[in-house]
């Protein structure tokens, strides 16, 4: 009896064959892979351009097998706007963390979304600044300890954590906004569907889209990878509810 070899799992063409710099248990790798799989499945690799942020995923261009721009902190949506306006035939995505997108880049993302720029933003929310070593982010939860709120986030002094997709959904311009998570296989499958939908809308030249992905940061949360996924489930899901916040072109779209 001969044994037939069959590949059932391989690296997507849109990812490079290198070891990433991400910490053990960090979910950036999973999110990168979801984006790369969608780009592969839609046959977009040769027309895809990513825009890297400043933060943990600053080196994203080393891991994607596509063209890339590397933006100043928070400005990825402005770069994506400039690029896509000149090359509407290409598929453009920004990949940004919470500090990059909501703190220093709040103005750029709000206006790009409001203009209805035809690119896709993958927004990774891990409730902390990772690259600089665990400082308070606009998405840090109440009482959460970071190096710049060592007694836990005090809402009286810092306001409430920002729910980005809800904030964006207040804009009138048609767009697609969904919050997903990658703390369990079931959620990873759902997250991929959202990423796919966002790229499909872009490809059909329909709208700006943003997928917020709840993510873990075991290193800066001071937890093991397993504890981190549990922490996300217990603490983040209640404040950052998953689901479609706006889908102007989907079933029952609010356009």
């Amino acid at each position: 009896m001969s044994i037939k070899e069959k590949t059932i799992f391989a690296r997507p063409d849109s990812m490079t064959d290198v070891v990433t710099h991400y910490c053990p248990g960090c979910t950036h790798g999973v999110i990168h892979r979801l984006v790369a799989e969608v780009i592969d499945e839609m046959g977009l690799r040769e027309q895809a351009v990513g825009v890297a942020p400043v933060g943990c995923s600053v080196l994203a261009y080393n891991y994607f097998n596509t063209d890339f721009l590397e933006a100043p902190h928070g400005r990825a949506p402005a770069l994506a706007t400039g690029f896509k306006r000149l090359r509407p035939d290409m598929t453009v995505f920004t990949y940004q963390g919470d500090g990059d997108l909501i703190s220093i880049g709040m103005s750029e993302i709000m206006h790009a979304a409001n203009r209805g720029e035809k690119f896709t933003t993958i927004f990774v929310n891990n409730a902390i600044y990772g690259m600089t070593g665990g400082q308070m982010a606009p998405t840090t939860l109440q009482g959460q300890i970071t190096s710049t709120c060592p007694a836990g986030r005090d809402l009286d002094k810092t306001g409430h954590p920002i729910r980005m997709v809800e904030l964006l959904s207040g804009l009138v311009t048609p767009m697609y906004l969904e919050r997903v998570s990658v703390h369990s296989p079931r959620h990873i499958i759902q997250a991929k569907k959202a990423v796919r939908k966002a790229f499909e809308y872009q490809n059909a030249n329909k709208c700006f889209s943003l997928v917020e992905v709840l993510s873990t940061c075991p290193t800066n949360w001071g937890q093991t990878p397993e504890e981190a996924t549990d922490w996300l489930e217990k603490n983040m899901l209640s404040y950052y509810p998953l689901g479609v916040k706006k889908d102007s072109f989907g079933e029952g779209g609010d356009r």
């Binding site: 261009y61 063209d67 890339f68 721009l69 590397e70 933006a71 706007t81 400039g82 306006r85």
Partner: protein, 373 residues
């Protein structure tokens, strides 16, 4: 093409289109808003991209993304707006992306005023953003020259893969003059844009970036940029001389609108028998250091006078050119005040009179001492 009467801001806008730059990002700010207003109408006519961004910060970063496509892109702004653009300008210099940025200068610092000034010399020439980089900086003194230099800016940006800045005081933007556009912008052949981000089709992925975490790689990149700036110094120095001769007693150094005012003053002084010449740098980086020194050291030149609409900024480069070999004087008005030709005439007459007086005193002293002897 026949001459047309145009406002500086509009002429600059049209010149860009003539140079094949049909991608413009802007944010309104006085005194250059007419560029945006003109292009809002004009870009759709030529099938170009016009986009008003939410801030100069965003606009300069849009320019960054747009420049990465390899197409000709540009923005225009004025002093406080240019300050906000410095982040992206530094990144574009680091990533070697060709762009053209026009600064129609108003008085500063801070919100300053809205009237013409030349007080952004340091910011433009010495690097307004962070890091080891230079911009190629051009300074027109007429609307026609603004048209010519605007077109040239795109060529130079592509030639060196570097941001080019054209600076003019508010007068350059607001004044109307007859200008002529070429039927076709003739330019030398340029290197292929093999760096452009066009999608990884049939080739390895490309990245437009300025990040080099390895210090050796960053140092290599900085020296590579430095070599490029040295090439600019060899090939791109531009200047003009006005009525410079071996009869000149005083040599003026001025740029932009200020240089034109100096020309009027020089003509007037000539009619009174005072011979003055003007050296006008057109490129502020690279700066004509040697050329200024060569003129200044000539025996007939008694003094060099730098005149600016600022509190002495280009002055430092002229000092660097002359290296103490001649005495340098400065005259400046700033904050939006444009010196009149009379002011320049009076300043020079004062210098000549003082010199004559000191000569007389010296002569008296000599005769006295002779008497004593």
């Amino acid at each position: 093409m026949a001459k047309v009467l145009m406002k500086g801001n509009e002429a600059i806008a049209e010149a860009a289109i003539k140079a094949g730059a049909k991608n413009y990002f802007c944010y309104p700010i006085t005194p250059q808003t007419e560029v945006a207003e003109y292009l809002a109408k004009r870009m759709p006519e030529v099938g170009g991209v016009f986009l008003q961004g939410e801030s100069e910060l965003a606009v300069a970063n849009m320019l960054f993304g747009a420049a990465a496509t390899g197409k000709r892109v540009f923005t225009t702004s004025s002093s406080p707006g240019i300050s906000l653009m410095q982040e992206a300008i530094s990144y574009m210099a680091g990533a070697e992306l060709p762009t053209v940025i026009v600064n129609i200068m108003r008085g500063g610092p801070g919100l300053g005023g809205i009237l013409p000034a030349q007080s952004d010399y340091f910011q433009s020439v010495k690097g307004g953003g962070h890091g080891d980089y230079r911009l190629l900086v051009l300074a027109p003194s007429t609307i026609q020259e603004a048209v010519d230099l605007m077109m040239l800016s795109f060529h130079l940006a592509d030639k060196y893969r570097n941001p080019v800045m054209m600076i003019g005081d508010g007068m350059i933007g607001q004044m109307m003059e007859p200008v002529e556009f070429p039927d076709k912008f003739e330019e030398d052949e340029l290197p292929e844009k093999d760096w452009a981000i066009t999608g990884a089709k049939g080739r390895k992925p490309k990245v437009a970036k300025s990040l080099f975490l390895d210090p050796h790689a960053l140092e290599d990149n900085s020296w590579k940029l430095h070599a490029k700036y040295e090439e600019m110094k060899k090939h791109e120095i531009r200047f003009e001389k006005y009525k410079m001769s071996d009869k000149n007693e005083i040599m003026l150094v001025a740029y932009g609108t200020m240089a034109r005012i100096c020309q009027t003053a020089i003509d007037h002084l000539e009619s009174e028998g005072i011979s003055v010449g003007l050296f006008r740098p057109i490129t502020l980086f690279p700066f004509p250091l040697q050329q200024i020194q060569d003129e200044a050291v000539k025996k007939n030149i008694k003094k060099v006078l730098v005149i600016e609409m600022s509190t002495a900024q280009m002055m430092e480069d002229v000092e660097r050119a002359i290296l103490g070999k001649k005495q340098i004087d400065f005259y400046g008005r700033t904050g939006g005040i444009v010196p009149s030709p009379e002011e320049v005439v009076n300043k020079i007459k004062g210098m000549v009179a003082k010199k004559a007086k000191s000569k007389k005193t010296a002569a008296k002293k000599t005769s006295k001492s002779k008497k004593k002897a």
